[in-house]
Amino acid sequence: MSRLKDLQKNLFGGTTSNARQFGMIFTLVAIIVLFQILTDGLTLRSDNLIALFNQNSYILILAIGMLMVIVAGHIDLSVGSIAAFTGILVAKSMAEWSLPWPVAILFGLAIGAIIGAWQGFWVAYIGVPAFIVTLAGMLLFRGGNQFIGNANTIPVPEGFRVIGSGFLPEAGPDTGYNNLTLLLGLAACVAVVWREFQARKTRREMDADPAPMWVSVLRMAVMVGAIVFASLRFASGRVGTSFPVSGIILVALILIYSFYTRNTAGGRHIYAVGGNSRAAELSGVKLKRVNFFVMMNMAVLAALAGMIFVARSAASGPQDGNGWELDAIAAVFIGGAAVAGGIGTISGSIVGGLVMAVLNNGLQLLGVGTDRVQIIKGLVLLLAVAIDVYNKSQGRFSVIGSITRSFRRDTPTPPTSSSDAEREPARTAVSG
């Protein structure tokens, strides 16, 4: 098969969802480059990148939880309301009961956990569809927000605002950069290289040939290059700014949840439940526990997202959380999750969310009004999912499949991708 496909497989792994992700990353880079040109270099300027993360971290955090909910075959419409409800309670707790802000954050997470337990109970143990439970939750907690807040806007203290609009301190010698951001970038580079070698080791342990060395080097070079570029950008913003604190929270959550969904039994169970709940149950998966967990986890993340937004806005207001569920759901589906559940990745959803975020930001920089921005975002969502559905129905692979199709004609196709003569050719989906 075509070399391009091999390359894609080597760089990003060979499974369908990975291929889909490759397409999305490709799209993301294309959009960034497009806007970088259209906005005359504003898009990748330090302050804009920082703003991009500040503005979208709470949506991306929601997307993490939403991905797990959707993979498990549910949906959560209540996240915006939960965020608003938590936000107002946390703001009040600091304004009226003078809770110190770190305690208030714990308080907020606890509220999220309690709400999550409530919704999880109905979904997992009573069996009410999550759509209904969270539709009810949407009304319930929106009402709760207005009941408690009397629709007032309640400011939050300076310390609390760090989680939404804070930056890393300036430390160490004056290098012309934010040193801590550079340090984070360095750590990320080391992690990338370490992971690459780890992956090669794993491949060898599986008695499989690791990708050719040049592919590994190239992959590391691309990723290290991207990280170096990003960290220099983030470190060179206005003095007092850096990679934002909300961004750090986001990255930490991405790492933790990616590991959880990919590498643990608990994560595997979520996919099993979403892929075929009856089969999962008959394989010994505790269905109720998994469903309870994803709903509860979502609510805790929604509470966190709500607090970050309140911190960023310096106040909790009655309009907090309006429409967030839709942004999060859109990110997850653009990122390649299946509506029926069982398919999707954290990183895909983040890329999906970033596509929307960059689009939003770029159009705003161009001075395009929100009305037209919404139209464009709606079309992008529809198109992204439609292309995927269309490709699946054509028996093709993914976005990248259609890109590489034109290359196939001129390269003679070996019978299968397997060079191992012992192995029988795959009987694929077309079996009789």
């Binding site: 075509s2 070399r3 391009l4 390359l7 504003l42 990748l44 300027r45 330090s46 302050d47 804009n48 703003a51 500040n54 503005q55 207005q146 009397n150 629709a151 007032n152 806007t153 309640i154 400011p155 605002r161 939404g164 609009s165 012309g176 950069y177 190239l218 691309v222 290059g225 991207a226 170096v228 570029f229 220099l232 950008r233 060179s236 913003g237 206005r238 003095v239 007092g240 960023r312 806005s313 310096a314 106040a315 207001g317 009655p318 309009q319 309006n322 429409g323 967030w324 942004d327 930001n361 705003q364 920089l365 001075g367 009004g369 929100t370 009305d371 921005v373 919404q374 290359f407 390269t411």
Partner: protein, 368 residues
């Protein structure tokens, strides 16, 4: 094939690194940026950002058009943005940040939520942009430079007075039954309107001359979230059923035209005679309604004047002068007292409509 792709990716990677290297040269701006040059002004063709709430009332749409044209005439580049319909606050935050990124020298903000913009205003200030709060005061920030608005307390007073006058004209003697509505609680002005109106109505209520039959006199009970017409209509429906089964409703204090029309729709739907209803904003439909004898009054806060005044302030800033203000004491936003220019509102009833809208190309024909 293999080499081609390998090469192109490698070139891409090198290009990325090269870009990175050039990025290093950009250096860092100081903490307070260009804001040090306070009185020096800025280039005459600079970018001016205008961030307005979502297009829920004609008034904002008109203001946006006026800003676009007015700033263009004055020689500025303009970026006029409205918040989206549902995610208003987040949209506005992002829009203001984008304006800062684009290097706007002055940012005019009609806030969707007065208290949730302090981070963005601070960022604008740090980048050296001046921030003018338009129509709605932005609270809890020391970085707001000016506030320009109609005298909203006065608006309330005019509404209250007109309500009393109108009821008296219909029915010489009280007591009069009235109901009170107020605007969205996240809008700083809503409370000001209400307090202005109550400053006129309260003495009459205490005397027993005016009766709020539902006893809902607290601003929390009367507020309509988001200035939404359906909210006002629903509340009026519910008041009519609960309180006015066999009572007559003489007047309704409505904070603006959109709500006034919703209230009238509700009352007509219940088959009751239309009482005296106040309004504000001089929206087309309401002016028609006033001429038809349904809505009693509206307030003409000529958006043209407000925009004109704002652009005048922008021009003064451009030239390096201090803009004209007429109130430096009353508007404390929680962090500081903001220098303010207040414009006087005008009460309009059927009687003076032709005169009041004589200069308005859209409304003048309606009054003939």
């Amino acid at each position: 094939m293999r080499n081609l792709i390998g090469k192109s990716v490698a070139i891409g990677a090198i290009a990325a690194l090269a870009l990175t290297a050039t990025a290093c040269g950009s250096g860092r701006d100081g903490d307070s940026g260009g804001s040090k040059g306070d009185t020096k002004g800025f280039a005459a063709d600079s970018l001016i950002g205008v961030a307005l709430p979502s297009k829920t009332s004609e008034n904002w749409v008109l203001a946006g058009d006026l800003f676009t044209n007015g700033l263009k005439e004055a020689g500025f580049k303009s970026d006029v943005q409205y918040a989206g319909a549902s995610t208003t606050v987040a949209d506005q935050q992002a829009q203001i940040t984008a304006m800062v990124t684009k290097g706007a020298k002055v940012i005019v903000i009609g806030a969707t939520d007065a208290a949730q913009l302090s981070t963005q205003v601070a960022a604008a200030h740090a980048a050296g942009a001046k921030v003018i709060a338009y129509d709605r005061l932005i609270t809890n920030t020391p970085d707001l430079d000016y506030y320009v608005a109609f005298d909203n307390f006065k608006v309330g007073q005019l509404q209250g007075q007109a309500l009393l006058d109108g009821m008296k004209a219909k029915k010489p003697n009280g007591p009069y039954n009235i109901e009170l509505f107020s605007g969205s609680p996240d809008d700083n002005n809503a409370g000001v309107f209400f307090n202005g109106a109550m400053s006129v109505l309260k003495p009459e209520i205490d005397k027993g001359n005016v009766v709020v039959a539902s006893k809902q006199t607290d601003v929390k009970q009367t507020a309509i979230q988001g200035w939404k017409a359906e909210g006002a209509q629903a509340r009026m429906d519910q008041l009519l059923t609960s309180t006015y089964g066999n009572k007559e409703l003489d007047g309704v204090l409505s904070p603006n035209d959109t709500l006034a029309r919703a209230i009238i729709t509700s009352i007509k739907g219940a088959g009751k005679p239309v009482p005296v209803v106040s309004g504000q904003d001089s929206e087309v439909e309401s002016v028609k309604s006033i001429m038809a004898g349904e809505q009693y009054m509206t307030i003409n806060k000529d958006t043209r004047n407000l925009v004109k005044q704002t652009i005048a302030m922008v021009k003064a800033l451009q030239a390096g002068n201090t803009p004209e203000v007429n109130d430096t004491k009353s508007y404390n936003n929680g962090s500081k007292v903001v220098d303010t220019y207040l414009l006087p509102p005008v009460a309009v009833t059927k009687a003076n409509a032709a005169e009041a809208y004589a200069n308005d190309p859209k409304l003048a024909p309606l009054t003939k």
